[in-house]
């Protein structure tokens, strides 16, 4: 049972992280490989500011969200938009954005590595205390609880927004056929910027929560999560918020099972193997709606 709580909170971190990636991938076709760096750098910025003054929890979260959104916007404007402008066709644009993201990801990574010399950094000094709530034989920390709740709330909110609101519909229209969407009066650029900003904000939020939860992260932590988020999205299906949940829980559950049953050294193989398997058998994932191009 305690393992279940652990798996749940692990899955919720994956959800928060993957939600942002899935949002942009499923709608504006941007697979942002710099997402992990954004996640880490938002936490790093909060850490730097924390050295100047003891900041309460809410302020830290705010910093994470704002920095994440800003970074994401910056990347979209300076890099991805430029690539899209010059691209010959959709496929090469996807590749360029992928590569561009990888290259950009190195920049915040090396800045953080420079300052921390790759030693872990955490939020001690912040007046917020990670406390434990016990019920019977089991326990959960306040941060874990917050993460689980936020993941649930934000996921549902995103899903509803995509399905019901005007901007949400417009965004999905872009995902289906961007040319037609723009003919219908959808401002592609503004919506794309919005999507990227929200995605970055989610990453920043996840960063702050995870750092509080684990106590410390390293500059390389973002990239590790990136692969997991990938696995979760592919498992669940690109373009579906329910898919992000399903994929994250499945992944976290599989990893926990492997950990407790075997020696724990094959956990990563689980994520990679699952990605591979799903792509083979059902590339659209469990809930995916995006059609997978086949030659």
């Amino acid at each position: 049972m305690q393992e279940l709580i652990g798996a749940l909170s692990l899955a919720s971190i994956y959800v928060l992280f993957a939600l942002g990636m899935s949002l942009t991938w499923g709608t504006i076709d941007i697979l942002n490989f710099a997402h992990g760096s954004i996640f880490m750098f938002s936490s790093f910025t909060a850490y730097l500011l924390l050295q100047r003054a003891p900041l309460p929890f809410l302020v830290m979260v705010l910093i994470g969200i704002v920095v994440g959104a800003l970074l994401s916007l910056l990347i979209q404007v300076l890099a991805f938009e430029q690539i899209l402008k010059r691209a010959k066709d959709k496929r090469s644009a996807e590749m360029q954005i992928l590569i561009g993201g990888i290259g950009i990801a190195i920049v915040p990574l090396s800045i953080a590595q420079y300052y921390t010399k790759s030693t872990p950094f955490g939020f001690e000094g912040s007046p917020f205390e990670v406390t434990k709530l016990t019920f019977g034989n089991y326990w959960i920390t306040n941060v874990q609880l917050m993460t689980i709740v936020l993941a649930a709330v934000l996921g549902v909110a995103t899903s509803l927004w995509l399905r019901r609101s005007r901007q949400g519909l417009a965004l999905r229209a872009i995902g289906v056929d961007s040319e037609v969407a723009s003919i219908m009066g959808v401002d592609r650029r503004r919506l794309a910027l919005g999507a990227m900003a929200v995605s970055g904000a989610l990453a920043g939020l996840a960063g702050i929560l995870l750092t509080y939860s684990l106590g410390a992260i390293t500059p390389e932590s973002g990239d590790t999560l990136l692969v997991k988020a990938f696995a979760a999205i592919i498992l669940g299906g690109v373009g579906s918020t329910a898919g992000v949940y399903a994929g994250s829980f499945l992944l976290a559950a599989a990893e926990t099972v492997v950990l407790t049953q075997t020696n724990g050294l094959w956990v990563d193989a689980v994520s990679f193997g699952l990605i591979f398997l799903v792509l083979l058998v059902r590339p659209s994932g469990l809930f995916g709606r995006k059609e997978v191009r086949r030659t």
Partner: protein, 422 residues
């Protein structure tokens, strides 16, 4: 049109053959390496009169990249030793000129800088990389090229491979057993182990050395879980291990992972002491705050140890480095450099082969160094007494020092994976 294409193909094929031929010719005319001597002279032991005015030594260590903290600390030890050697005129009127090449924490660069140094005939000896990966790539080059190379850390098989290679750091599996005293004093009867496979050293300690110690002391191992280098969340393995209700828990992780694991261990309700490893030193546990207190580990050197030669080193280091306490990397490097100087003096020459012979002679004696008193070389690996320290949340407390060098577990080239170092 076909003709044009055919001509194009033929033109291309001819061009490529010419190019290939040229490149092969170029490669062929590169001269083979020949071991040369730089400054010879009588090999009477201890005679410094025939040494060249400057003796060049290169430290090929990572000063940038992931293991830079260890490489930089080692270089500080080298600097201090070389300064003393020159100031004391230990080599008569000859001075050691120390150069530093950055290996950038990658094996290929390490091989590159080693090759460059080996090809430079004025270089008498090398200080090898602290990183196992890099060391393993450097050793064959140094051994084949006939250049003496002394490593610190780099605890992996494939580093000390021949008479030109020495390592001034004991393998962790050799000094880890000094923790037996702590275990016995506390009366632990059972242990749960969580270890990482991120380094061969820790995988070996967690998978073999510690369980062997447990067996010897009559402790049961209630659980043992290996985690990957990429694991960041230890809640699951921790709750599993605690489920076995062990008397003591051992957490063997690399630097960055330790504070997270300690925090989560405390959250899960375990308040006892934790057997760790030296990867948690150098302040790596600080982010865990009060939760980090109680981690205990054996290490080859701590600045608070009481041997006279160690205290002397610490005082000299602090004087030269702004009252900063030396890390074990610096102490190891210091002893390595002094070992080299003694070997050069013994050889009476800066010739590479003669230094190698000198090292073999000097290695037969016990000596007192920064790492403690009564240090001995066994099969070109340095053995030291070692100390056990405990992190109290703010700094390391010295719990106790081993009485002397224990040679019971010395096994230079045993099979299986290996031990120390990053």
């Amino acid at each position: 049109m076909h003709d044009e294409v055919f001509r194009g193909r033929r033109r291309f094929a001819v061009r490529s053959m010419v190019a290939a031929g040229a490149l092969i010719a170029l490669a062929a005319c590169s001269s083979g390496s020949s071991g040369g001597s730089s400054g010879g002279g009588a090999a009477t032991g201890g005679d410094t009169s025939n040494l060249p005015a400057t003796i060049k030594v290169v430290s090929t260590n990572p000063t940038t990249g992931v293991v830079a903290f260890a490489g930089n600390a080692a270089n500080k030890g080298y600097d201090l030793a070389v300064k003393e050697i020159n100031e004391q005129k230990f080599l008569g009127n000859s001075t050691i000129q120390l150069e530093k090449s950055d290996t950038k924490s990658t094996a290929a660069t390490a091989a590159q800088v080693a090759t460059t140094a080996i090809g430079d005939k004025s270089v008498a000896a090398l200080f090898g990389s602290v990183s196992s990966n890099e060391a393993v790539a450097q050793s064959p080059l140094a051994q084949k090229g006939g250049v003496p190379i002394i490593y610190t850390q780099a605890g992996s098989d494939g580093v000390v491979i021949g008479d030109y290679t020495y390592r001034a750091t004991p393998l962790m599996r050799e000094y880890y057993p000094i923790i037996k005293k702590f275990i016995q004093e506390k009366g632990y009867k059972s242990i749960g182990i969580i270890y990482t496979q991120a380094t061969p050293t820790l995988q070996n300690i967690g998978g073999q050395t510690l369980p062997a110690i447990a067996k010897e002391l009559g402790m049961t191992v209630t659980g043992s879980i290996g985690v990957q280098g990429t694991t960041q969340d230890y809640a699951a393995p921790i709750s599993q291990i605690l489920g076995g209700k062990p008397d003591v828990v051992s957490i063997l992780l690399v630097g960055a992972q330790n504070p997270t694991a300690m925090k989560q261990l405390r959250q899960a309700g375990y308040t006892g002491e934790v057997l760790g490893n030296s990867g948690a030193s150098a302040g790596n546990l600080k982010p865990a705050g009060a939760d980090g207190a109680g981690m205990v580990w054996p290490v080859d050197f701590n600045y608070q140890q009481t041997a006279a030669s160690s205290k002397k080193f610490v005082a000299a280091y602090k004087a030269a480095n702004g009252a900063e306490d030396p890390l074990n990397y610096a102490a190891e490097a210091y002893d390595a450099a002094w070992f080299l100087a003694k070997s050069i003096k013994q050889a009476g020459s800066a010739d590479r082969a003669k230094i190698k012979d000198g090292m073999a002679v000097v290695a037969k004696e016990k000596f007192d160094g920064a790492l403690g008193s009564g240090l001995i070389w066994v099969d070109r690996d340095l053995q030291v007494p070692g100390v056990v320290v405990r992190w109290n949340g703010e700094k390391e407390d010295l719990l106790y020092e081993a009485a002397g060098v224990s040679t019971s577990t010395v096994s230079p080239t045993s099979s299986g994976s290996s031990t120390t170092g990053p």
